[in-house]
């Protein structure tokens, strides 16, 4: 994984000192609340309902065991003993004290981590595919480009006071696991006939109150021009994006208002002016970064492990977990295992300090010291020998993180909602917990199959409800929590936005409503059709009829 050199260390260290100074100025009254806000936000510090919340970046989701131990230490020392993994490969602490934050940032810097630009109207943490480097369906390791973008976007002098926040995601796999089309800039790495690397660049995707699937601006930007092209998009956006209305300030609104064709022309014209400047990436720089992501020293293992085969036969629970939570690895004898942070009745994405410590140990023992965070709020062990899967699983069982529910109806993405967030209009966590309990029967879940259910506590859509096969949006109706349901959202390569199915449901009816939707799907599906495929074939009508039949 990437290792900070002298220069990176200087950046994060100086950042800690700068923020320490800003906190002092704020406490002395030299900075107004309004002036301090963007400064703390650019260090990931939010003021929430009950306390400050600190969001720490996990660039492209990759963590070393040492970093996981530090995250646990921070949870214990400065917070209430837990952290929350988010839908953008970050971790949030919900109870830090303002005065402690500079020390937390210093602790993070000691393990090459930071909270730089995890909030604010700037370029946020660059996300990527959690299977980067290990999946068979990728062209290259996308984290190489995510890291190049991370460095370029850090303290970018021109793009740190944008009209609104700006998110970039990169994937290099056929199966888009990074939801790139729902980002302000989405990048898909391709290889052309000549074997050259290039990027399909799209812009203007997003969730929020105006969900949009990003249109492609350019199908093949040459490898050396990645930064020039992104800079061109950002410059057009910085100058033309709306600043009069916060709700219309994201780049997607600019793209829609300008029209894709016109917007693309603006970007291409700007790109033509800057593509031959210092932004051009030299081959040796790309190679230098790539060297950090070189594959680990794999052992020459046989594709099959006798011990593993025997354990599969012997232990049914283990076999189920393997079938659902373990993915194929590109290296023979290895596997990719996902630990579900969605235990029955638990809070999606939450992880205690004790769990983190054991995860760090398991990472060292069974995954070459590296673990990944997914945008679905789970943890991935990317380098597990097949023969170690059983031991890893046993470790996860002890932690309660063995739920075999990957990509199934209880693998719910949920934002923190009204339990924590100052923006939320309804709670998300209790709905996720009740759904988890209602659908906990594993046999039934497996029968339902792949079904993504996402919950947001407000229109800002941090729970990605627009991209859920079933999306649930919490709304406030005369101080009552109601939940609006969307169907047909999807965040893969064939991304789509969910459609509102009809009037929203009261809190006590939402679980039944989901069950009804699932029943309609079971009745309508043909063969092994996934929920999304059935929905795309039959449309919203049968669901609507059943849901609102009694009214």
């Amino acid at each position: 994984m990437y290792r900070y050199d002298e220069f990176d260390h200087v950046v994060v260290t100086e950042r800690v000192e700068q923020f320490r100074n800003q906190v002092t100025r704020r406490l002395k009254g030299e900075l107004s609340t309004d002036e301090f806000r963007p400064l703390r936000l650019m260090n990931g510090l939010y003021a929430q309902l009950h306390a400050y919340m600190l969001r720490v970046a996990i660039p492209y989701g990759t963590l070393s065991s040492r970093q996981v131990r530090m995250l646990a230490h921070i949870a214990r020392k400065y917070d209430k003993g837990y952290g929350h993994f988010t839908t953008r490969q970050n971790i949030q602490y919900n109870w830090p004290k303002l005065l402690d934050v500079p020390d937390i940032l210093a602790d993070l810097a000691s393990v090459e981590m930071h909270a730089i630009q995890t909030s604010g109207n700037c370029i946020r943490n660059v996300t990527s595919d959690q299977y980067a480097g290990v999946s068979a369906d990728e062209i290259v390791d996308s984290r190489v480009y995510a890291e190049i973008l991370r460095q370029w976007s850090t303290f970018h002098p021109e793009f740190t006071f944008l009209p609104r926040k700006f998110k970039i995601a990169v994937t290099a796999a056929a199966d888009d696991r990074a939801a790139v089309r729902f980002h302000d800039i989405g990048v898909i790495v391709h290889k052309n006939d000549k074997g050259e690397i290039g990027f399909e660049v799209m812009a203007g995707g997003g969730m929020g109150r105006t969900p949009a699937v990003a249109p492609t601006l350019n199908k093949f930007v040459p490898e050396a021009d990645l930064l020039s092209y992104c800079e061109a998009i950002l410059r057009v956006y910085n100058m033309l994006g709306r600043r009069d209305n916060m709700f219309k300030a994201r780049i997607k609104i600019l793209v829609m208002a300008t029209g894709v064709e016109n917007f693309t022309k603006l970007v291409e014209d700007e790109f033509a002016q800057i593509c031959d400047t210092a932004l051009k990436l030299p081959d040796d720089e790309i190679a230098r970064i790539r060297a950090y992501f070189a594959p680990p020293a794999y052992e020459g293992l046989a594709a099959n492990s006798k011990a593993f085969d025997a354990q599969m036969l012997k232990d049914k629970a283990f076999a189920t977990w393997v079938e659902i939570n373990v993915a194929a690895h590109k290296q023979a004898g290895y596997a990719i295992a996902t630990a579900s942070l969605k235990p029955i009745g638990g809070v999606p994405g939450d992880c205690t300090a004790e769990q983190m410590d054991v995860i760090a140990d398991l990472t060292d023992q069974y995954s070459l010291g590296e673990v990944r965070v997914t945008h679905e709020q789970n943890l991935v062990f990317p380098y597990v020998r097949k023969s170690d899967l059983f031991a890893l699983w046993q470790g996860l069982v002890r932690l309660g993180l063995d739920n075999p529910n990957l990509d199934m109806i209880t693998d719910i993405i949920a934002c923190p909602g009204l339990d924590y967030c100052g923006l939320a209009t309804a709670r998300s966590i209790p709905v996720a917990q009740r759904l988890g309990e209602r659908f906990q029967d594993l046999k039934r879940q497996r029968d339902i199959g792949e079904l993504r259910l996402n919950i947001s506590g407000c229109i800002n859509a941090c729970g990605h409800h627009h991209a859920g096969n079933i999306g649930i949006l919490g709304v406030d109706k005369q101080n009552q929590e109601f939940y609006q349901v969307t169907l047909g959202g999807h965040d893969g390569a064939d991304a789509s936005i969910g459609e509102i199915v009809g009037p929203s449901f009261a809190s006590d009816r939402i679980i039944d409503a989901v069950e009804t939707i699932v029943d309609v799907y079971i009745a309508q599906r043909q063969g092994k059709e996934r929920f999304i495929d059935t929905y795309r074939r039959v449309g919203v009508k049968p669901f609507k009829e059943k849901l609102y039949a009694a009214h």
Binding site: P38, F155, N238, A278
Partner: protein, 437 residues
């Protein structure tokens, strides 16, 4: 309004004039874009410098053809959150090649000053002259920058490439490889060895080579520590990839032997943690961590970037000088160097003399396989960076991974003639170099 230029209070010769204000004869004025458009011809006949004021929704491209008529372009920040003028400043410099003064005014935080400076803004109108110092401080809050902008600061990527480039042997005249000798030694440097002392050490080396030269590493060390140099010998360890072998031997012979560890303050965190792990596991009781002289760092390497401009001098103040001080009490020291490490080490003697001291290299003849066996046999932990391809580990900035097939120290000062930091500049090594090998 007080004006800040280059981090300091500066005199402002310009006066902002509103659209309906008269313009006194000869006064350098800054007028709005509207007024410029309205009164262009009149303004051009005035015999005084003229400046242009742009609102945050007025891009400089609107007056691209006229820019050379203005002595200053002033960019307004109606609120610090409106970042459009950041792009305008960049475009003024890069696209329109505007060479006059670029100024920012309005609601600007000092925390934005460095960004503005990077984008080619010369001056800022500030509210309070008393806070000038704060602005100056803000300007220096960062010293490393990742992206190219409109300033002369070199992005980290260029610095990284420069380090690599400068260390290439094809440019031996480059200052980076200049010897450190032109910088006077620190005032408190220990005195150089006297000729008598040098002769005595040479004599001992001859005797010992004959007497002990055939002994195995542990036995040789036991003789040196327990018989010849009682209380007068130290081990110098890097706590690098193979250091555990000697340290383990010491733990069995004399766990209280002084072990000198040079913390250059540029080491990998992994090395420091590995040191603590080994010290604990082996029960070593006298590990002395030696650091560079802070005064020396302040004088010669205030920004910590000396490695990129003068690598030899950097080694001199971070390793050679601190070691000289640390070894002052001793007549002999033990190192972990091995012949298989190649280059100048290929001819390493087991016992040698240096600077009037006896220097013992018990592992000189050990192969990599032998070392590996020792690790396994004694259950010694590996340096955490080894698995990551670092086979020889020094300071972070000047250590690279080693590729398959390269010799183990190929990652040290990669691409350069430099292959030693200077603490082992022994006569043997020097003669090897001068003979042209």
């Amino acid at each position: 309004m007080p004006l800040i230029r280059g981090g300091n209070l500066a005199e402002d010769q310009w006066v902002h004039r509103a659209d309906d204000e008269p313009l006194p004869d000869g006064e350098p004025v800054i007028v709005s874009l509207d007024r410029w458009k309205r009164d262009r011809e009149t303004l051009l006949t005035r015999n005084a410098p003229l400046g242009l004021r742009l609102k945050s929704d007025q891009a400089p491209s609107q007056v691209a053809g006229d820019l050379d008529r203005f002595g200053v372009v002033a960019l307004e920040f109606p609120t610090f959150k409106d970042g459009r003028a950041f792009s305008y400043a960049k475009l003024l410099r890069d696209r329109h090649h505007y060479r006059g003064e670029v100024r920012a005014f309005g609601h600007i935080l000092r925390d934005q000053y460095l960004y503005l400076d990077r984008l080619g803004v010369d001056t800022i109108e500030v509210k309070d002259a008393r806070q000038a110092d704060e602005w100056k401080t803000a300007m220096g809050e960062y010293s490393v920058f990742y992206q190219p902008a409109a300033d002369a600061r070199r992005p980290a990527m260029n610095l990284r490439r420069k380090v690599a480039e400068a260390l290439k042997p094809s440019r031996p005249d480059f200052e980076d490889l200049a010897p450190a000798g032109d910088v006077p030694p620190p005032k408190d440097a220990p005195p150089k060895a006297t000729p008598a002392r040098i002769a005595a050490a040479d004599a001992k080396v001859r005797t010992f080579s004959h007497k002990y030269g055939h002994l195995s590493a542990p036995k040789l060390m036991a003789a040196m520590i327990g018989t010849e140099f009682i209380g007068n010998i130290a081990l110098v360890s890097s706590f690098g990839t193979e250091a555990a072998v000697l340290l383990h031997m010491v733990s069995e012979i004399a766990p209280d032997l002084p072990v000198v560890f040079l913390d250059t303050q540029k080491l990998f965190g992994e090395t420091l943690r590995y040191r603590d792990q080994l010290v604990g596991q082996l029960g070593l009781t006298d590990v002395q961590t030696v650091r560079p002289d802070p005064e020396r760092l302040k004088a010669l390497d205030p920004k910590g970037m000396l490695f990129s401009s003068r690598a030899n001098l950097c080694c001199q103040i971070r390793k050679v000088e601190p070691l000289d001080r640390a070894l002052a009490p001793y007549d002999a020291w033990i190192t972990g160097r091995k012949r298989y490490q190649g280059r100048r080490r290929a001819v390493l003697p087991v016992i040698e003399a240096a600077e009037g001291r006896v220097k013992i290299n018990p592992l000189a003849g050990w192969s990599k396989d032998l070392l590996d066996e020792y690790f396994t046999e004694h259950g010694l932990p590996r340096h955490p960076l080894e698995a990551d391809g670092y086979l020889s580990i020094g300071c972070m900035p000047c250590t690279d991974r080693v590729r398959p097939g390269e010799d183990v120290r190929a990652g040290r000062w990669r691409g350069t003639d430099k292959d030693e930091c200077g603490i082992h500049e022994t006569p043997a090594a020097q003669s090897l170099t001068s003979s042209g090998l």
